[in-house]
């Protein structure tokens, strides 16, 4: 029988249980952060349990960390969550990239960067954007707090196998159009729940020609389309990326031989297939309060079709029929697990070089990890941002969700490279417009969005 890559990965990890019902599957990598883990450790302690495989568990702090003075956490609860994770990691013997540690950063940025994330794995984390790690040809998904406790204690999880969906992405990306636009375009066309109940695989020549960082951007936002798991077949690009990283396999030859068995035999094996041609794709901008409320940059904001649209327009203070190019921008945010990696910062810096952001615009640059920050500084990218009038910050989640002091003030519009434009996401009353790093950079320079396909860079 023809199988999808997902079927093969799944079969490899089943310990017990029959298809159709909950099956016990093995977890190869459990990533932990400070917000969703305290109650899980508390549960272990209450029951006198240990962490079964500390060698398959890795923790960092990202959601609450300040990006200016990193050791000065002002909010009492943020501080408590950070201190609690440090205490728990020590007590249970878990590797921790804590505040100021060279490996610290957004959990979904450091997993791949450290070579912890590898093809063929099951990766879980108490965070919905765990889908990011699927870019390596692994099963990766977010879990709840009780499940975090379960994985810590048993290194396994009960899951019912989802259906599979293939998205055939093909064509050459036009100038000025990026991975971010592909995933935003898919969600705008298919809706924010199209992937619910499915493990999605992205395949096709567009995907094959992409770097790992671009593939991660795609899979990262799969969850915004409802797909808890989103993956890409591992290939030479994947193997080259993993090789030589801190926790990469020492015997890469043996690893690659094993990883090469993960591919989809034929698209017929998917329960559902959809097609996405990118050769005429435009850069996308979100206008409303979910990632599906997005339109191509050269279009006008849509008509109001239902109460949700009305509510969204009221919230963002925009009108149907208004051109996207007229959306005013007072904030710009470069960062997050979607677009906070080195290649993203390079693209934005390339645009900003020799320019200055518009008067009245505040721009934050928050590298996805300390390693990204240091690499960028070595290349002088920080200087380009600073010369353009941007604030160069310490790594973390920052204004992606504003759990730390980095928030967009109420009523202001923020061009953001992050992944969620929900009400209040970047701060109470904040108005988020998701877009690619290049689009955000141009918006910061001009104080409004521009169609970057017409620009030089």
């Amino acid at each position: 029988m023809k199988q999808t890559m997902f079927d093969k990965l799944w079969d490899r990890h089943v310990i017990s249980g029959e298809p159709g019902g909950p099956q016990l599957i093995y977890v190869d990598l459990h990533l932990v952060h400070e917000v969703t883990s305290p109650q899980a450790f508390e549960g272990l302690r209450e029951n006198g349990r240990q962490v079964r495989r500390t060698d398959k568990t890795f923790a960092t702090m990202d959601h609450n960390v300040p990006t200016t003075d990193i050791f000065n956490v002002k909010d009492a609860i943020s501080r408590k969550q950070i201190e609690t994770l440090a205490r728990n990691a020590k007590e249970f013997g878990i590797r921790l990239a804590g505040m100021g540690h060279a490996d610290q950063g957004i959990i979904h940025v450091i997993g791949p960067q450290l070579g912890l994330t590898q093809p063929g794995m099951v990766v879980v984390c108490g965070d919905s954007h765990t889908a990011t790690h699927g870019a390596f040809g692994s099963i990766a998904f977010g879990i709840g707090t009780s499940e975090v406790e379960h994985v810590l204690a048993t290194q396994t999880i009960w899951q019912t196998k989802p259906k599979t969906m293939g998205i055939h992405v093909h064509g050459r990306l036009p100038h000025g159009v990026y991975a971010k636009d592909i995933i935003m375009g898919i969600i705008a066309r298919e809706g924010v729940a199209f992937g619910t109940g499915y493990a999605v695989e992205l395949y096709g020549d567009t995907i094959e020609n992409m770097s790992m960082e671009e593939r991660m951007t795609l899979c990262n936002m799969g969850i915004e389309g409802g797909a808890k798991m989103c993956n890409v077949k591992p290939d030479q690009t994947t193997f080259d990326y993993v090789a030589g990283r801190k926790y990469a396999p020492k015997n890469m030859k043996r690893a690659i031989a094993d990883w090469k068995q993960y591919y989809t035999d034929s698209p017929e094996a998917f329960d559902k297939v959809i097609d996405f041609d990118v050769h005429k794709l435009a850069p996308f901008v979100s206008w409303g309060t979910n990632p599906g409320m997005s339109v191509p940059v050269d279009e006008k904001l849509p008509e109001i079709k239902n109460a949700d649209d009305q509510k969204a327009f009221d919230y963002v203070g925009l009108r149907p029929g208004q051109p996207v190019l007229d959306i005013p921008i007072q904030y710009a945010f470069f960062g997050s697990c979607t677009n906070g990696r080195l290649s993203d910062l390079k693209i934005a810096a390339n645009v900003l070089k020799g320019h200055h952001i518009a008067a009245g615009v505040t721009a934050l640059v928050v590298p996805g990890s300390r390693a990204v920050k240091e690499a960028a500084e070595k290349m002088g990218i920080d200087q380009i941002f600073k010369n353009a009038g941007c604030e160069w910050r310490e790594p973390g989640c920052s204004a992606c969700l504003g759990m730390n002091p980095d928030q967009v003030p109420a009523g202001l519009h923020c061009a953001s490279t992050s992944n969620r434009n929900f009400e209040g996401r970047q701060g109470a009353g904040s108005r988020t417009h998701l877009a690619s790093p290049a689009m955000v950079a141009y918006a910061a320079i001009n104080g409004h969005f521009v169609d970057i396909r017409k620009e030089e860079v």
Binding site: S16, L24, Y26, Q39, I77
Partner: protein, 194 residues
């Protein structure tokens, strides 16, 4: 987890439909690091007046209702956000059993994970339970799958898997630990790339 077999207790009736998790525990109380301590904020918006003093009208605040372990409520209980804190708050307040017309899937799963027995009974039966005297006790007999009060006896359904879990006081982790041999065998076969 504490086993549940037979519980005899006074009740608190809260006969409203569609009580969502935001009403059970509002989002401002989620930023915490423990599973306990949420009980004092259970049903916060109903329980406290604008000046944050207890609302004497609300049933949870009535002195004669204190110590009740059984909540009798409406249909579609625990709908809305998936926050596990809703179950933590009910449990922390002291509820061991909830009797409703139905539950959201996620709430039901979260209750089984935390040892709170969520029972479904039809409306006529819940109406009877909601009207018994304040100091009257009802008995929830899990092995017999019955709720009893005086001469009334109402049968309820429960998946044998969950029933076994509650009676033995097993949590998911304890159940999975029963698969230790298979997990260890799996681990022995994980390919080594070093």
């Amino acid at each position: 987890m504490e086993p549940i077999t037979t519980i005899t207790s006074t009740t608190i009736p809260l006969m409203k439909e569609n009580i969502d998790t935001d009403q059970i525990i509002p989002k401002q109380f989620l930023k915490n690091i423990l599973k306990v301590g949420y009980g004092k904020n259970l049903f916060y918006d109903w329980r406290y007046l604008a000046d944050r003093t207890p609302n004497p009208e609300f049933i949870l605040n009535q002195p004669e209702r204190q110590g009740a372990q059984i909540l009798v409520t409406g249909d579609n209980f625990g709908c809305g956000s998936s926050r596990e804190h809703a179950v933590w708050a009910l449990k922390d307040f002291g509820f061991k059993v909830i009797i409703a017309g139905g539950y959201s899937d996620i709430f039901y799963m979260n209750s089984t994970k935390n040892g709170v027995l969520a029972i479904i009974l039809p409306e006529e039966q819940r109406r009877i339970l909601a009207q018994i005297p304040t100091d009257a006790k009802i008995t929830v007999d899990l092995p017999q799958q019955q709720v009893r009060y005086q001469h009334f006896s109402f049968d309820f359904d429960i998946d044998p898997l969950w029933k076994n879990k509650f009676i033995k006081g097993l949590d998911d982790i304890a159940i999975t630990m029963g698969y230790e041999d298979q997990i260890a065998a799996y681990e022995a076969n994980i390919p080594n790339y070093n």
